[in-house]
């Protein structure tokens, strides 16, 4: 079903059609181009993913409030966009995330605790990208879209597109937000991907706010329409509809794997929380807007469908809640147990091969610290 979205005030352009397969009320609807067959097991699995990633996110926000994390970038409201797209990935596909893709990380089997290292300040990104085919979080807005495109160009050179072998053909997905579409790097990524016909899906979560700046400050046209100018397809999907996101992303990934080139997917969603824990959205947006989007919650609609069609009952929902609490407890206790890195470890890995200056500074640092040890001990005795 194509849902026309009413245009906003202030001369905003009329809102474009939206691919939707599950309404906010939990009603399954059909779309002429995209369809999805979900078994009860699959639908329950989506629900479980959505609830768990929201719970991890809430726990991380709480940990930040309690001083255990320096910062957290909440995904609240964007669970369906992330889970729906990430569950469409094949194991060999490769993901280039922003710093908010905790739900995608979950689907790539990255332990949520590992995500916290960056925000706690004990490392700059603790997981092994090659183990999960999930790159490190990129903080500079939009940079990773070029990395994704280059990676996809490598996939082409490896002959890992268009072979017809589902275990070999590989797609790359680049996540980014609405603000990023203004970046030169993102536009350059579109150009490079287009002229190379690279197997990359540009997955834009349009949560409508780039910190304090609404879409109107980034664009005069719906974002997905940008793709046409670069020469590849773009479309807008209801980013709070996990089924539609899944169907649309799967089609885009399949297209890339067949060697037919890039696709721009605009997942139209809403950032329910602040940009990060350092942000105060009450300074720039009205509560009524948030309340309106609460009615489009990505989890509530799946739960409604499961309940109404008898694919899950109270027992299942309760089980998922228990699992979510257990996961949150794991995240909390593992976060608190995360040791601070040894100071001298800051000298590791700036280079792979020896670098005399770094070696010299490391030696100085060690000697300098060693010089303090007796004095520090004496200080303790005095106290």
């Amino acid at each position: 079903m194509t849902v026309p979205v009413v245009g906003g005030p202030g001369g905003r352009p009329p809102q474009p059609p939206l691919v939707q397969l599950l309404t906010p009320e939990g009603e399954r609807v059909e779309h002429p181009d995209y369809s999805i067959d979900v078994t009860p097991d699959e639908l329950r699995a989506f629900y479980r993913d959505l609830v768990l990633v929201r719970r991890v996110d809430a726990e991380a926000t709480a940990l930040q409030r309690q001083g255990e994390l320096g910062l957290w970038a909440s995904l609240l409201g964007q669970e369906a966009a992330q889970v729906g797209s990430a569950r469409a990935l094949a194991p060999q596909d490769y993901v280039f995330p922003t710093y908010r893709e905790h739900g995608v990380a979950w689907c790539r089997d990255v332990d949520p605790v590992t995500l916290l290292g960056l925000y706690r300040g004990v490392n700059l990104g603790g997981w092994d990208p090659a183990e999960h085919n999930f790159h490190l979080y990129t903080i500079v807005i939009g940079s990773q879209t070029l990395h994704a495109t280059g990676y996809a160009m490598g996939v082409q050179r490896d002959g890992a597109v268009g072979t017809g072998d589902p275990a070999r053909d590989t797609a790359v997905i680049a996540y980014f937000g609405d603000g990023a579409t203004s970046q030169g790097d993102v536009n350059e990524a579109f150009v490079f991907a287009s002229v190379n016909n690279a197997p990359v899906v540009f997955f834009c979560q349009n949560n409508q706010w780039a910190i304090s700046e609404p879409n109107e400050r980034q664009t005069r046209v719906p974002l997905y329409q940008r793709a046409a100018g670069f020469g590849f397809p773009g479309l807008r999907v209801d980013g709070n509809d996990v089924l539609a996101v899944h169907a649309v992303t799967k089609a885009a990934l399949d297209r890339a794997r067949r060697g037919e080139g890039p696709t721009f997917v605009e997942a139209f969603t809403y950032r329910m929380g602040a940009h990060t824990t350092s942000d105060d959205p009450t300074r720039y947006r009205i509560e009524a807007e948030v309340e309106e989007w609460k009615l489009k919650d990505p989890i509530a609609r799946v739960k409604a469908l499961l309940a109404r069609t008898g694919q899950a009952g109270e027992e299942f929902f309760a089980e998922v809640e228990v699992e979510a609490d257990r996961l949150a407890e794991h995240v909390r206790s593992a976060c608190l147990a995360m040791p601070d890195p040894e100071p001298v470890s800051m000298f590791d890995h700036a280079y792979r091969d020896p670098h005399p200056l770094v070696d010299e500074e490391r030696a100085w640092f060690e000697e300098y610290h060693a010089g303090f040890e007796p004095a520090a001990a004496a200080g303790e005795v005095q106290r």
């Binding site: 490190l136 990395h147 790097d185 700036a350 792979r352 005399p356």
Partner: protein, 326 residues
Amino acid sequence: MSPRTTTIAKAVNEGLRRAMEDDPKVLVMGEDVGRLGGVFRVTDGLQKDFGEDRVIDTPLAESGIIGTAIGLALRGYRPVCEIQFDGFIYPAYDQIVSQLAKMGYRSGGKLSLPVVVRVPYGGGIGAVEHHSESPEAYFAHTAGLRVVTCSNPADAYFMTQQAIRSDDPVMVFEPKRRYWDKGELDPAAEPLPLHAARVARPGTDVTVAAYGPMVRTVLEAATAAGAEGRSLEVVDLRSLSPLDLDTLVASVERTRRLVVVHEAPTFLGLGAEIAARVTERCFYHLEAPVLRVGGFHLPYPASRLEEEYLPDLDRVLDAVDRALAF
């Protein structure tokens, strides 16, 4: 291959060719590097021999070149990017400094970024604005990058290959006005390590350190000084990050005087860092303060003025005189 006389541009070309033959993962990418062979013809013939997948004519977007090279490296390739002119590197500055330099560190050593960025640099070719700059200090200042520069065909040939073999990102600054300078190349010779400096001309009175395009200028100054009975020791630094201070310090301990020469402005340039470090290590050996000869604190001027702007033989000798007068 037998020893022969060749140019720096051809030696880089041969170095690239050799690296591509040795390792199928090596790619060359940049603006006009394919069909045209590069605006300086440094990549001439490579696309014909290695194909469009390995010698990539990229869109005209420098950030895109480096950003996609990073992605290719993450997929296991060893891209060699050409930035067409020094002054065009700034659109790629963010990808180089924030991504290329830091990504290995960010990953705790799990990722390696064997990307080479080749940059024809420096002035003296009568070019229009943005085609004559010496931006090397920006990159030497950035941890995570290695920065080297060649001054002769043999170094051009070997350093190109060594940079490509490095698992760290390497910026290779090529002295564009010396591209057509000739010199001996023996491909069978044993090269210096990539990050070693070299005493290009032994001497006893003053050490003059230079790199890239200024090495020839300084060698010519040393010849002129020699005619006046002054013996200059010329050190070709070759590597700007890391610096081979040991070779330089050993020279200064012999000559007790140091002049550092580069085209880049002296303020916060390599010469400033070298002066500080050599002074720390050689304080009691020095008979004179370390002097610098370089560009003025100006945007690169119009080309009719560049001969006045760029350090030349006389400005080098002027600094040598001042060092000796102390």
